[in-house]
């Protein structure tokens, strides 16, 4: 019974097959070959592109990273030199630091904002689904549009944000023209764009918390804050975990908004890792170093993600 999935096709009785899920369905004539051909025919249209446009490039990126290469001339084998150089290169270190700065600023902002709105929308508020749709709108908007619009909002001299700040007597900063404010500008725009995404994930988590828990806690005399910290947040931890893992994966790959808002400037103050990869390849013709940096970034993200998956037992509650 258990080996039925790979045994001779065509001899299965329907009653046996029905117990299996997923059930194998076989035909009578030349069944094995025909079956294998069908499987191949169904799989190849996706397997070939994934092989040639993901797996092969992945491997060749590693090969390129062991060479010195300007994309045009011949390759020169340098072993692990590219990696060694990157680790000590101040530009790369700066890019890593700026990326970490981005994540440290972005994650608390987008999480607390998303949580506040999710909590508010999880009540019997009027127009809930329309509001949810509004909050989600920036998520589906292209990063380039968002970056351009925010560059305009945060224009130091003629932008409306600084004008509004001026109304309440605050001299607005130079935002993307000021090395000290370029990263906060990017963080602000990013949190605005992703807030709706975080909100939808958390709202789905909130809706899965059984109402009885709150009723029981209220009977026991727990106030709203107590209920938030003792019921909502612990019960929400799987969703929170998902948001954090995803934000870190995406955060280390931050690029589109940086490219369009600051291009890494001014004065390299917002240069992030992927922008560095792009510049190394297409501005400085250092494809080997760029590939090495790509691999370092990939491994770094992998390790960070694995650490989180390991560490989740300590704080994530799966009901």
């Amino acid at each position: 019974m258990t080996t039925v999935g790979n045994s001779k096709p065509g001899i299965l009785s329907v009653t046996n097959a029905r117990k299996l899920n997923p059930a194998p369905i076989r035909r009578k004539a030349a069944p094995r070959l025909r079956y294998a051909l069908t499987v191949g025919l169904f799989l190849l249209p996706s397997a070939l592109p994934l092989l040639f446009f993901t797996i092969v490039p992945m491997v060749s990126a590693f090969w390129i990273s062991l060479n010195q290469w300007n994309l045009v001339g011949p390759m020169k084998w340098v072993g692990l030199d590219n990696y060694a150089r990157l680790v000590t290169d101040p530009g790369t270190q700066g890019a890593f630091l700026h990326t970490v700065y981005y994540i440290v600023g972005y994650l608390p902002l987008v999480y607390s904002g998303g949580l506040a709105i999710a909590l508010a929308l999880n009540t019997r508020i009027k127009g809930r689904s329309m509001l949810r749709g509004l909050y989600f709108l920036p998520v589906v908007t292209s990063w380039i549009v968002v970056a351009l619009v925010w560059r305009w909002l945060l224009n130091p001299s003629t932008g409306i944000v600084n004008w509004l700040l001026g109304l309440i007597g605050i001299a607005g900063p130079g935002w993307w023209t000021d090395p000290a404010w370029s990263m906060p500008a990017i963080i602000l725009a990013s949190a605005w764009k992703d807030l709706g995404f975080v909100m939808v994930i958390l709202l789905a988590g909130l809706q899965a918390i059984p109402e009885e828990l709150y009723e029981a806690a209220t009977v026991d005399g727990a106030g709203p804050w107590r209920r938030l910290f003792s019921i909502t947040l612990p019960m929400l931890s799987p969703s929170t975990f998902f948001v954090i893992v995803l934000s870190l994966i995406n955060g280390f790959q931050v690029f589109d908004q940086v490219y369009a808002m600051t291009g890494g400037g001014p004065n390299n103050s917002s240069q992030v890792v992927v922008q560095q990869i792009y510049d190394l390849t297409f501005r400085y013709g250092k494809a080997g170093e760029a590939s090495a940096l790509s691999w370092l970034l990939f491994l770094f993200i992998l390790v960070i993600t694995l650490i989180q998956v390991r560490g989740q037992k300590k704080w994530v509650n799966y009901a």
Binding site: N6, R18, P22, A23, I25, T38, V39, F42, S46, A47, P49, L50, F52, F53, T54, I55, V56, P57, M58, S60, A61, I64, L71, G113, I117, L131, R132, L134, Y135, F136, L137, V140, T141, S142, W143, I144, V145, L148, V149, W152, L153, T158, G159, W163, W192, F197, I201, L203, G205, P238, F255, A260, V274, I277, A290, S294, L297, F298, I301, L302
Partner: protein, 271 residues
């Protein structure tokens, strides 16, 4: 009695928040019809001389219709290919067991974790050796299969009971017919979710088209837009007009498919 002020506070929070979400879009629209916006330090909240001149100029200086068409055709093709390749593969992973299937599926899932940035250099080289730099095919090819799509549709197909397949088999239907006539129609909601995701991803994609396309007339909307701001550093009305034009088709799609998008996203967080 104490509940009342809290409800008001919640309402205020949500409404103010929604205003913050919508305002940048509105402001882009207002700016796009205010000629000379960006020259004065006092913003005009209501444009004094509204005009569509920025849109006219945009059309004149850029092959804008062509660029919108480029983006549209690429997005439609990507979506069609992803739907076809993903649903076929998902059917195998859901309905056609073979030795090593789990391993193959694991490889599919693993490709989801490779960031595009790692692939950029070798993909560029690959496309160069295939002579596909500065071609639409070069933009399209890496996106015709989606491991995410396979995963999404497999989940949906697994939740379709196999009783119907059995009945069809007894009637002599093969896998092709079961796939096309029974399973596919039953996973329509998941197909809709994938359609929207594939379309939006392609419509909004930036890094890859930026790298592969060179001729200005061949560029996609996001790439052309990013180029706009370099050309017109202070002409914000033109830059915003470009932004508005690129948001509109996305907005139209979003209004009708919001349900599938939000369901799809909410669902991914629960697994």
């Amino acid at each position: 009695m104490r509940k009342f002020p809290r409800l008001i506070a919640l309402n205020i929070l949500v409404v103010v928040g929604a205003a913050v979400m919508v305002f940048p879009f509105l402001w882009a629209l207002v700016t796009s019809i205010s000629p000379g916006a960006g020259l004065s330090a006092t913003p005009q909240l209501v444009p004094e001389n509204p005009s569509l001149s920025a849109y006219a100029e945009l059309l004149q200086r850029l092959p804008f219709v062509q660029i919108v068409l480029n983006s549209l055709i690429l997005a439609v093709l990507t979506t069609v290919f992803q739907l076809a390749t993903s649903s076929l593969a998902a059917y195998v992973f859901s309905r056609m067991p073979f030795k090593g299937r789990n391993a193959v599926f694991a490889v599919y899932l693993a490709t989801m974790m490779v960031p595009l940035q790692v692939l950029v250099v070798p993909l560029f080289v690959e496309m160069k050796s295939l002579g596909l730099i500065n071609t639409y095919l070069g933009v399209l090819l890496p996106g015709i299969a989606s491991a995410f799509g396979v995963f999404l549709l497999r989940q949906a197909m697994n939740s379709v009971p196999t009783d119907l397949d059995q009945a069809a088999t007894l009637d002599g239907a093969g896998h092709f017919r079961i796939f096309g006539l029974i399973v596919l129609p039953l996973v329509r909601p998941a197909l809709a979710t994938l359609t929207v995701f594939a379309f939006l991803n392609s419509w909004n994609s930036f890094l890859w088209p930026l790298i592969i396309l060179r001729t200005p007339g061949m560029k996609t909307l996001p790439v052309a837009l990013a180029g706009l701001q370099g050309q017109y550093t202070t002409q914000w009305d033109i830059v915003m007009a470009g932004s508005v034009v690129s948001v509109l088709p996305m907005l139209a799609l979003y209004i009708f498919t919001q349900k599938y998008i939000i369901q799809g996203v909410a669902g991914t967080g629960l697994k």
